[in-house]
Structure formats: C-alpha cells, structure tokens
Symmetry: D2
Subunit: 287 residues, 4 copies
C-alpha cells in the first residue's frame, strides 16, 4: 500500500527533532563523548581533563590541564560559612536525600554568593574585547592600566563593590596569590589576569581591598578561553564535592531534625494580638 | 559591674554551637581543609585528590588517586537520554540561571535514575560485612560465589532488577569492562568487585544481562572504602560537569523557550466536556 | 510521489505520543481543565475548589469544599522554626530568585520534616483497608480501638515515634483540636479520623503525647478520599504561601548576604594542622 | 561566683538574633500568624484569605477576597505544554519524591516562563508611580493612554515583546477577558489594569496581539496593592496544585523511568570520531 506525500509530510512534521547535541552520542553498546569512545577516556584522562573536554569540546594541552586542576581545587570549600553549605546541611537534617541536598546548595548560589566569578569574568572579557568608554580594546600595557582605572572609578562612583575583590571573612584571601603563581607557571597568565592584577593594585592603594579567589579565577579562566557564561557552572563543579562532604558529615555526626534555631532566639516585630471575628465584622465579611 | 552565674549560664545556653565541622576551618586570612592550608593544596594536588580528601578526610595514595580519576571520568555523560539532562536543558530553555538548571538536573536523580550505584554499594557492603542469610560474612572465594548466587536468586524470585546490572540503552555497557581493568591495574579490585563480577557471571548465564557502570563502580568504590551513603554523592560529582556542558549548549545553540512538545503530539484521556453551572447546581453549591 | 508502508510505519514509530494527560487540554484559544473551560472556572469556584478539582478530577460538594479550606489553612506557617523556612530565607539572602527560594524550601521537606502527614495517611489507610496483623479490616468501633492499640504497641516496641503525634515545639499542638471540630461540622470525620483519635487517646494515657496537625489532617484527608501519595503534595500546596511571604520579608527587611553564622560560633573537631609536602612524600606520590 | 562585664558582653555578642519575623510567632502550645491565633483562622477564613493575610499582613475585605480566589484560579494549569510541568513529570518518572518534583517545576520558572507577570507588574507600577519619559505620573485618562503608547513604542523600537501580551499557543488567551470582568465586579479594576487595557488596544491595532493571563493579573494585582516583587511568588502559589496533580498522574498512570526521548530521535552535530592516544601524543601530554 502506498500513502500520499502530504500525509507523510504531516507525519514528518511531528517527528522533527526536539533533541540534538554535540556533546555525547549514544548508540547501542557505544557512548562517544566529543568524538572519543568513553572506554578510551576512562583510565586515560584525568577528571579535570574530562571537565575541560566537556566544556570546551577538545582535550587540553598539558599546561592547561594542570591549570584546570588548580582552578577546581581553589573553589573547594569554605567551611560552614557559605549560605549554600548551611542550606545543604539544614536540608540534610530533615532526612532529604543526598542529591536533593546538593541541589539545594547549588540553588543557593545567587547574585551575592558565587555570582561574583561570572560577573567578574564578564567585566574583564568585555573590557579586553570592547574596551571601556569610547577607547576601544586596550592595546598596550598602559592602556590596560587605564582601563583598570576606568573600571575602578565606574564602580566607586556608583558606590558598588567590584566583583572579584574583597571578602567578608578575610582582609587578604589566602588563595588568589597562590593561584596567580600557578597561572604564571603554566602559561595561563594573560591579558585578562593582568587586568585583574591592575584593578587590585588600584583598589589596594585607594581602599585597601585585595583580590579574592573569584577575581583571580575570573582572569585565569578568561585567559584560558572560557566563556563568562560558564563562570557559575565551573564554580559549581568545583564546589559540589564539598557539599557532598558536608551533607555526609551532617548525616553521620549530627542528630536528625536538630533545631538550628531556638524559639528563645527569635525576635518578633509588630505582632500585636488580633481577633479574627472582630476584624471580619469590621471588614463586613459574611461567613 | 558583675553579673550572676545563672544569668551567664542562661546566656551561654543561647550560645551553644549550632555549627561544627571537621572539614574546613575558616579564620581571618586562613582557610584550612582537613588540616591543610588551601594555598598549599592549590597547584599541589589534583581535583580528584581534592574530592578524595574532602570525602575521606585524608589524601589518597597514588594508586587510589589514579583510580579516583577513572571513577569520576566513568560517570561523565550519557548524552540527552537521561531524565536529569533533559530536565536541566528544559529548565535552561526558560531562561533559568545556570546553577538552578544544574540543581534541577541533580534533583532528578531518583530511585530509577542514578540510584542504582548507591543501592548496589549497599548490597555488596552488606553481603561482605554481614553475609546473606544465616551464613555470616563470606570467608572464601567459594563462599563469595555462593553469596552471589543467593543475591541473584533473591532478586529473581521477587521479579526485581538487581541494581548495577542491565541498561535500558545497551546490551553490554561499554564502560564497566574498562573500569574493572583499571581497578586491577591500580590494586582497587577487591572482594566487593569480585562479588559484582560473580553476580554478573550468574546473571549472564541465566538472563544474558551484563554489569553496568554503576555495578562496576559499586564494587570498586566499596573496595576503596567509601561508605555506600556516598554513592549518589560521588555520582553527582562525576555528572555535574556534563550538566553544565549541556546547559551551556542549550543556551548557546537552541532558541529560548522552544517547544519541547507540540500540542498536536499530546493525547488526552477522558476529558469529556462539562458545564460548571450545571455541576454546581447538582452538587447544591451556593455561590 | 508515493512512499512505502514500511517507511511510514517507521515514521509513525517516531511519533508515538510521549505526553498524555487527563488534567488539562490545550487547544488554540481554549483551555479545558477536567472538562471545564477555564474561563468558566475563573470567578466561579474558589481556589480550594480548584485544588480539589485538580487533585480529584471533580468538583467538591459544598461541605468538602469548606473542609478543604480549613485543611489548607491549617498548614499555613510555623514561623522561622522549620528547616524549610530557614532554607528559603538563607537562599533569598544570596540574591537567588523568588521561585528558586520557594523550590529550596519545598525541597527541604524530608522524612523528618513534613513527611509525617504522608506516612500517617499511609498507616491509617492501610489499617482501615487491610487491618493490622491477621485480623482483617476493622469492622466495628471496638475493632478499630483494637487496631489503634496494635499500631501504638508496634511503634513503642520499636522505640519509634508514630507519625502524626508529638511536636518538638508544643506539648499540645493548638491546631488539631480545632480542625477535628471543623471536620465534624462538615461531615468529614470518618473511620480514619476516628482511628487517629483512638491512637491519641492511648498515646496520651501511656506517654502524655498529643496528636499534631499532621495526624489530624492524615485522618481527615483520608476520610475525604485522598490517596496517601498526595499527602506531601497537599502539605506543599498549603505551605507555599508562607514560603513566599518569608522570602519577601527576608528581601524587604534584612540586608543582603547577611551572616547567619559568625565564625566565632563555629566549633571544629579534630582539625589538627598537616603539611601537604610531608604527607605526599610519605604516601610516595610523584608530582 | 561573679563574672566580668566584658565576658558577658562577648557572650552577648554571640547571641545577637539571627532570626526575626513579623509573620508568625511560635510559643509553646501557641502559634499566632499576623496576630491571629491559628486555631481561630482554621475554619474561619478561606485559603485565599490566608494567602492574602500572609502576603499583605492583614485580612482582605470581602471583594478583595473574592478577587484573590479568581486570580489564583486563573493561574491553575496549562496542561503538559509548560516546561515546568514537563520537568516535574520527567523528575517524577525517575522515582524522585513528590516535593522534589514540585520544587523542580517551581525552579523552572525563568525569564521566559512565568517571568512575564512580575515584569509586567513592574512596568505598570513604574509607569503609574513615576510616569514614562519626563512626563511624571499620568494624572488623567488621556495621559494614561499616552503612557501606554510610549510603553508600546519603547518595546516595538527595541523589537522586544511586551511582557503580559501574546501567547505562544493562543491567538486570544481565553482567560484574561473573564478575569477583567471579575475585577470590574469586585472593584479591583483600577489605573494599573486600565493601563494594561490601553496597551492591549494599541497592540491589537498595530500588531493583532492580545493581552494574556499574566497581563491581566499584572494590572489587577497591582490595583490590589501587591508589590511587583511578589509576582512570581503569587503565580507559584497558583500553579503548585497543578504540579502536584501532574506528578501524581505521572506516578499513577505512566510506567517508571519511561523514555521521553528515543535514541533514533536524537540528532548529532559535528561529532566526528577521534582517537585519544593520537590526540594526546599530538598535544604532548605525558601519561
């Protein structure tokens, strides 16, 4: 039996692909990621190289691979001070599953927490590519320093913090200095990181404020060619192991459904006593 | 001025610590993870070693470090077939932030998706520690094979799948064979993995079903001394980079708020037309 | 042009429906929920009736509609003491979007927090339908009391709490008494709620423990014919407005990224100082 | 024994309140929301009134209470076409818990999905309060129409959609007309809704585009005095019952872990075959 063209085209319309990808191809008994059969990747490349391959579509050279290790290690953990860690542990205390608690922690990265890396990457990538003001992209070390100054003045005028600088728990974050050293060692210190360093120099003189770990990573990841839109994603990859560790600690060491807040510690504002019947009468609400 | 003891004790009661940890200590300008200053870890250890340090509290020896790389690489990605990847990409299409989409993917690991690793670890750790039935822990290769048989029979009788075996897209998952080889190379093939291999041998004979990547990892991670309660957490660490990659691909390549389902493709059951006024009259509902 | 049958069948195979539903039909310019055009529902039924219609597939009679209002109101809020509220507010403090914070709160309902309603519904529905032990379903008031005793003994023997009874902040939860009264008024006090009341009577005598709001709702919702699998869902519907309110309060009143924990308030266990280089030498790790 | 002032102050410093609220006060055996004991609210006010009380801090008058019912009903469901519903159901298929699936759905509200209400509220509240351009707030019907024109021109010039207008599945969304009628009936049609109606009139003439349900609600909720920052929150309250219903349907009707995508339906771009060893040699990567 044969069927008319129109019918087939209508059927075809229904079948137009909803899903396509260039990351991993799945065939029966064969899984190929970025062109490599996965069984060839297992045991042959490091996890950091895998991260790089997934995000950039190709394997890193050795130096970039080493740099990637340092970048991911640098995001590892900040104890129980970050809101994301508190959220993950409070959720664990209710008996929520491990992955739900990790998701809770990851969802807690907002504008003020972990958002600085991406915003800092966006700024340095913009300045390097487009320049600030009407000057066009900086083409000398002098122009880069000038760009740094314009960035600093822009933020100071608005009374805003520059993402990637300053830390609420540290005067001088102990991590960025080491990471910058590693970047120099592995040839990953380029114009973006130079811009970050120039901004720090100015901020330090003017306000006594140092670069933080997000600032250092913003420069380095940009010099490695990562799109700023991947900033929060890369931070997330680096921080998830700590979330898993904290959730496991909460589950292993603390008692279930413990009280994080005692009723005596809660303050109430303006909760004067009211009477429903009176108020509904006054509002003329029928029952 | 002096204040009475009781008052102080009441104050102290309020201050009893809600937060304690053995993972990372935060002091001004100093962050120490598992005893190591973070600036000493950055550039000195790999990301996989960091994962190991966070989860186990100590640095791995070289062979375990290499094994950890392979384990994490083995979880990397399965294209757009897993529900978690679909969820992450559908969320991205709505304009939700990167980390929210990652969290959505991670939240999608349920009993049937990614839950097999933890359940498989639990089974092999239980069998090795407690034994099956009344026999006590297996103390010879023969007893281990016997335990494997009892596990298989237990599940087959109940008509249930054994977690860690079989795959809905592959007859023979291409990953576990390679991972087992790596485990042998690095001395991480022990009694738990042997049990998994014995179960596979039986299942293969009886049902033609192979081990999958969760089964292989269940054995190996157990032999490396990881608590089964960390199973889903370790899988999550390994899978998050792929989620980030897929979300970035969705955002870069596909159009915003695209339709994943066409209205013509939806089927409706039993949605016959009703009339609110008629039905409310019939139910005697006053307006 | 004509095309062969096989080709068409292959095409058809691709088009088999992935999505079907009996809840809402979407056609161009027409949205029909459970058979009713939505424009006929808007302004004609209450939100609680809509909840009932969505969950049960039909409109409630007037008494059930009134009961539904009381049930949903009874779940409304418990201030800042529940982990879900703390999570939602901590997330808000990071600048995360409103809906992400609501999702964080909702994800925090675990076994120990808000899980009691569903578990309590499951127990009473099981007892009423199947009975306890070998006695079969209770068919008289006397048998129901006996079932209550068997339930209580079962839990006490295991040293476990009975879900729906006891509250960590109240000796006598002020809500269930009123809700039970409302249930009697609206004819929604049936065998399941009777069982809950019988259990409370025993627990009160034996242990001085009262019913909590989950216990009362477990009985009433079961008597209204709700599947126990909807327990957490119905609680969620009732609690979401409070989460929205708390997140809005956090955003309006508190400063962004405030510290929920002071570093001085954190206690550390067993975090003795270590040296990476020494330890790596000892572990024979090559660089 | 007495203790010095300084010690006490240090102790006090630790106890400064981290948690305060004006929503609900929790005391032993007493829970008071917005000043009302909860047992007086249960059975006395409707769920919509509770929503209003939680969000605004006071009970609504009768007309506002009726309007609130209609608003919340109007958000109820849009079948399986919204990404949030697809996400919730895909998550349910993995065996994830009910509340996790609801959270997944709620997390899926992004800029393009459900974000229109809040953005539309923001626009109309801004125009009414501040005016557009340099004209100041509109003080006559004529000026309001002029503001509407300026809003429309602003968006058309940028080639952007105006939030609250147009629908990807409907030419004429069937819901807003009815909701506007209800708003007039209950005295909730004010200047903000008038602005929305004026914008629609212009858009209809110029582009044939109608108001959607978000547009109508943006006007009405603004006329009821709701802060635009509550937009997504109120939508969430209205939509959660449908998510619960869809998740329950998925769990009841569909088989676990079903395939939402067939491997044959996935398209791959640029995934040419590669060889790890070759590529690593070329990159000079040592093993």
């Amino acid at each position: 039996m044969a069927i008319g063209r129109e019918t087939v085209e209508n059927l075809l319309k229904l079948t137009k692909p909803k899903w396509r990808t260039s990351i991993t191809k799945v065939e029966p008994d064969r899984i190929t990621t970025r062109g490599y059969p996965q069984e060839d990747l297992i045991g042959n490349i490091s996890f950091s190289e895998m991260v790089y391959l997934l995000l950039k579509g190709e394997l890193p050279r050795e130096k970039e691979a080493k740099m990637m290790e340092a970048v991911l290690v640098s995001f590892c953990d900040h104890g129980v001070t970050p809101p994301s860690t508190q959220v993950a542990r409070i959720m664990a205390s209710t008996g929520a599953p491990m992955n739900t608690c990790v998701a809770g922690g990851v969802s807690s990265f907002g504008k003020y927490h972990a958002g600085a890396l991406e915003r800092s990457m966006r700024i340095v990538q913009h300045v390097v590519k487009e320049g600030v003001g009407s000057n066009g992209p900086p083409s000398s070390s002098e122009e880069l320093k000038n760009s740094a100054l314009m960035v600093v003045e822009h933020f100071l005028e608005k009374g805003k913090k520059i993402p990637g600088f300053g830390h609420r728990f540290h005067d001088k974050d102990p991590r960025p200095g080491k990471l910058i050293k590693v970047a120099k060692k592995y040839g990953c210190f380029g114009i973006h990181t130079e811009l970050i360093v120039s901004i720090e120099k100015l901020l330090l003189e003017m306000k006594g404020i140092h670069m933080n770990i997000d600032g250092a990573n913003a420069g380095i990841l940009s010099d490695m060619g990562f799109d700023w839109k991947l900033g929060t994603g890369i931070f997330t990859i680096g921080r998830v192991p700590a979330l898993v560790s904290h959730i496991h600690e909460e589950n292993s060491v603390e008692s279930s459904f413990r009280k994080f807040v005692e009723v005596e510690d809660i303050y109430y504002n303006g909760l004067e006593s009211r009477n429903v019947d009176n108020d509904r009468n006054e509002l003329n609400i029928s029952k």
